[in-house]
Amino acid sequence: MSGEPSARVYEFGAAENVRIGQAASWTRAAGIVDIVFAVLGLVGGILSMKSSGAQAIGMLVGAAIYLAVGMSLLSAAGSFSAVVETEGNDMPNMLTALSKLKTAFKIQVILVLVAVVLGLLAFFLLFARAR
């Protein structure tokens, strides 16, 4: 194993292309759902700015997260589709798709962990204030 990009070319077969194409479709659908949530969060955040600043910030942050994950998923779906539709670059396209999926999951995991930490912090602050 050299660690350098390979010059070997691998073309996925017809049956594999069908499965990859389906994965592309559902990944794209999940990305679109996330982007719709982002738009709804953006609108909700803007509308609630006057009534509740904290709620608006929460919604806008949520919208930004959904947007980032949605864009990564759409990008991954594009690379999956490229595996099916093009020839000569199947493996680089597949690796790009996997990298984009990694980015989407990474964003989700890191932000869930940050939210949990902030939630625990808020809980303990409220608990300390109550005492």
Partner: protein
Amino acid sequence: MTDEAMSAPDEYEFEAFEDAVCGETSKWTRLAGIIQFVVGVVLLFAGVFQVLSDFWKGANSLVTAIVALVVGTTLMSCATALKAIVTTEGNDISNLMTAIDAIKKAFRIQVIVVVVSTAVGVVVYLAGVL
């Protein structure tokens, strides 16, 4: 697509830089799966207690819990297949396709649940308005 590629789909062995991408993706996919699974377990317990006091709220939690558990398990199986690309030899393409199928399944469940729950929400809202 060449005939050669079709006749020997499993002979491609991933190299070091390709293994690195699969390994990294496996790690984050597993973490995302574990989080979904933990959320599912928490919602399952919450739903069991809620269903005694407020049936519909509890049922909602239980359905969400089951979806989270299935998606979490699917993502973890995807991560395992991606990891197998790195740790084993001779079945890289087969393992990759298993991972792709798992990804498809996880996103399909999520999208269908969002669409169905949105439709149910709209129906319930309209029923309340009318």
